[in-house]
């Protein structure tokens, strides 16, 4: 014999006095709202802001990376970065809509980003020079992380328009997207075309910002 859902739960109704009060408050404060645009529109908007902000942040330090690359390398490198921005922006947008289908997990999004950037760097720049690896890498990591701060602020503003049901995942996605912007700024600026440098110090920006996002998300969840 199957167990039965007790009467207490199966037919339970909320307190009628409170329900009347709730209905009254709810109806009184009903005002028209502007709905969120479609996911595709928000993703494209995100990517548009991403490109503009990356260019704006690379401008003060110079586009030496862009100038030093071949035309083919430019197309491949920036296309991959744009594609990853689209994927991560999709993750951010999904997190803003409660009950929306989740197509990618935050950890997978972060790993995919780092892996694809590393593979692209290895294929495009088969130079494994590690001369002055740390002294030349630290400024890149620092500028990448600094560049991701305004991106994180803008992502937070965007997320505020939605309703976050999973602060941890949302913060990791936000952190990864901001970190990718830092990496994009470095791809425009940095003239060091060595795979280990790009994999450790440029992709490292995404690791740092994603971990920061994870900490922020955990903090928000505990509040």
């Amino acid at each position: 014999m199957p167990f039965e859902i007790p009467e207490r739960i199966g037919h339970a109704t909320p307190d009628s006095t409170r329900l009347v009060a709730m209905r009254k408050t709810f109806a009184q404060s009903a005002a028209p709202v502007r709905l969120l645009p479609s996911n595709a529109t928000m993703m494209l908007l995100c990517c548009g802001v991403f490109v503009a902000l990356a260019a704006a942040l690379a401008l003060p330090v110079g586009f030496y990376g862009l100038a030093g690359m071949s035309v083919a390398a430019r197309w491949v490198d920036y296309f991959v970065v744009f594609l990853l921005a689209l994927v991560l922006a999709g993750g951010v947008v999904e997190q803003m809509i409660p009950g929306s289908r989740r197509t990618i997990r935050p950890l997978w999004g972060m790993l995919l980003t780092i892996l694809l950037l590393s593979v692209t760097a290895t294929v495009l720049f088969p130079n494994f020079d590690t001369d002055r690896f740390v002294p030349r890498g630290i400024p890149c990591l620092r500028y990448g992380v600094l560049s991701s701060i305004p991106a994180a602020g803008l992502t937070w503003l965007l997320m505020r328009r939605g309703f976050i049901t999973d602060p941890f995942s949302a913060a990791v996605f936000g952190g990864a997207l901001s970190g990718l912007l830092g990496a994009a700024v470095l791809a425009l600026h940095c003239p060091i075309f060595s795979s280990p440098h790009i994999i450790v110090w440029h992709a490292g920006v995404i690791v740092v910002t994603s971990l920061t996002g994870a900490c922020v998300g955990l903090f928000r969840m505990r509040k």
């Binding site: 167990f3 859902i5 739960i9 339970a12 909320p14 005002a31 709202v33 309703f163 999973d166």
Partner: protein, 170 residues
């Protein structure tokens, strides 16, 4: 819901009237206290109100609402856990024995649910009490349908073990 988003007051009232009992049962299935379930329901409607711009009329309504209800429940759980962590127990409370099956052979549903981990209990309440489909539960919990099926399967396995002695089927 679409009318409510456009500021229709009657639609807002209708929404509260129609869906409150269902969400009240969802909360009651997890917290076991009518008063707390009423509080959660109130909090839930406040959040629905502040998040109403995120609902798209083309999407299914229930997963959207359950995702918010789930958030309300999680926040309440964390608040109570934080509070109980700070409070000192002044005296030892007597342990309540688990109720036995009644004369008709029915096993207390809440006692069984209490034995399940939070994530499995939530899935069982959504599937069995609220009557959502696997796909709707997946959307509400932000996971995949496979993950929901796995949690439900594990919960059923555990319930089978718990009911094993009484010969009940799940």
């Amino acid at each position: 819901m679409a009318n409510y988003q456009q500021g229709d007051r009657a639609a807002a009232g209708l929404l509260v009237d129609t869906l409150s009992p269902q969400f009240f049962r969802f909360f009651l299935g997890q917290v076991r206290s009518r008063e707390l379930a009423d509080d959660l329901l109130q909090d839930f409607w406040l959040r629905i109100h502040s998040a109403r711009q995120t609902y798209r009329p083309a999407d299914p309504l229930l997963p959207w609402m359950y995702a918010i209800a789930r958030r309300v429940r999680i926040d309440q759980y964390r608040r109570s856990r934080n509070r109980s962590g700070r409070e000192m127990q002044v005296e030892r409370l007597p342990e309540v024995p688990a109720p036995d099956p009644d004369e008709a052979g029915n096993v207390d549903f809440e006692t069984l649910l209490a034995a399940l981990p939070e994530s499995q209990r939530e899935v069982i309440v959504m599937l069995k009490v609220s009557g959502l489909s696997v796909e709707e539960v997946a959307r509400a919990t932000g996971s995949s349908a496979g993950s929901v099926k796995q949690k439900a399967h594990r919960a059923y396995e555990k319930l089978r073990i718990l009911l094993g002695g009484t010969g009940h089927a799940v």
